[in-house]
């Protein structure tokens, strides 16, 4: 069986935000073209979702962890938090473990791929631990002006490899990059660069 991949699958505004400052994602409410950018296939490729606490709480407030596709009870949800709630939440495990240890434990278990739902903090933690395999980014043709960036800011330099790109009739651009392992590869092959 193929290794489980940890995938950031997300939409950003064209100016690079995943939500408004208050967490709002109203700007994502737009009609999807036929096929919904391949979302259906993606949802069947995963069985685990990783959430930041704020993203999780906002999803619950919006009416459930189900979210897009309304995941079956078989979907495992992990929420990263320093302060787990006192009462357990059905179908959800709260995680305080360091990301690297958690990721290798998860990868060692058999299963489908793992979806990092966001937000920017959890994405940054996994990225900086070298644990993001794929970024699948849907660039929405809208500037929202300000908001929560895709990845919590910190100086970094992560080379990506473009796997595919699709432009849809509604102007959404879907970019698929791989991240894990690209760093060492680009070091050995010495990609051609030029100062502009």
């Amino acid at each position: 069986m193929a290794d489980r991949r940890i995938v950031v699958y997300i939409a950003t505004s064209a100016d690079g935000f995943i939500a408004r400052k208050d967490g709002g994602i109203d700007w994502l409410d737009r009609p999807h073209p036929k096929g919904s950018y391949g979302m259906g296939e993606f949802f069947t490729s995963i069985d685990t979702i990783l959430w930041g606490r704020r993203t999780f709480d906002e999803a619950v407030a919006r009416g459930g962890v189900g979210g897009p596709g309304n995941f079956s009870a078989k979907t495992k949800n992990y929420v990263f938090t320093h302060t787990p709630p006192e009462k357990p939440v059905k179908g959800v495990e709260f995680v305080q473990e360091p990301v690297a240890a958690f990721a290798s434990r998860l990868r060692a278990q058999p299963g489908k791929d793992i979806w990092i739902m966001g937000g920017g903090g959890v994405i940054a933690s996994f990225l900086d631990a070298g644990e993001v395999d794929d970024f699948i980014i849907h660039v929405i043709p809208t500037f929202i002006g300000e908001g929560v960036p895709l990845i919590a800011p910190a100086r970094r330099s992560v080379p990506l490899r473009l796997e595919s790109s699709n432009a849809y009739e509604d102007g959404v651009v879907r970019l698929h990059y791989t991240a894990r392992g690209v760093m060492s590869e680009s070091r050995t092959t010495g990609r051609k660069r030029r100062r502009a």
């Binding site: 940054a124 002006g145 330099s157 790109s165 432009a167 102007g171 990059y177 100062r195």
Partner: protein
């Protein structure tokens, strides 16, 4: 009416340079050279902010661009900068008037601060991005926070052999 184009080479997380201004991550290639050359043929005017102008001047590229009318927005630069026209008035109003004059396209050069003023003034018509396959995490942003939401219409999306994505949009406000 003359089109005003904003854009440039950016990282996936929308930075145009590292925190120290470094652009060592930029990739070049025949395809981007061709795109830049054909875009350059559609314009006759360049507008930029003071910081971009001073950065270009430090690299020995002062005096504007040959064959182009170059405007630099600044309230502090002396009026007699060689080869460029220093503009003291509000950038949005100035560009709005410029668009009504005869001429070819207008290119907004450099960082996002001028871009923001011009987006907020509603005078930018096109956006052109050369999205590089890298995450920088911090640096000089292409887009500065804006108080308005702006609609875009995708015109073109091409994949370059070097892993960059060239995407152009029409700004619909």
């Amino acid at each position: 009416m003359r089109d005003v184009t904003f854009g440039g080479a950016n990282s996936v997380d929308n930075f145009v340079a590292r925190p120290d201004g470094g652009v060592d991550w930029l990739l070049w290639g025949d395809e981007v050279a061709e795109v830049v050359a054909s875009f350059w043929k559609t314009i006759d005017t360049v507008v930029m902010g003071r910081k971009t102008y001073e950065a270009a001047r430090r690299q020995g590229q002062g005096g504007g661009y040959p064959g182009m009318t170059t405007y630099v927005f600044s309230r502090t630069l002396p009026q007699d900068e060689k080869g460029v026209t220093v503009v003291r008035e509000d950038a949005g109003e100035f560009v709005r008037r410029l668009k009504q004059q005869d001429g070819s396209g207008i290119c907004v050069m450099g960082g996002g601060e001028l871009g923001r003023s011009l987006f907020e003034a509603g005078v930018i018509d096109r956006l052109g991005l050369n999205i590089h396959p890298v995450l920088l995490g911090a640096g000089i942003p292409l887009f500065h926070p804006m108080t308005r939401q702006i609609g875009l219409q995708l015109e073109e999306c091409r994949r370059f052999a070097n892993g960059c994505i060239y995407a152009t949009y029409r700004v619909t406000y």
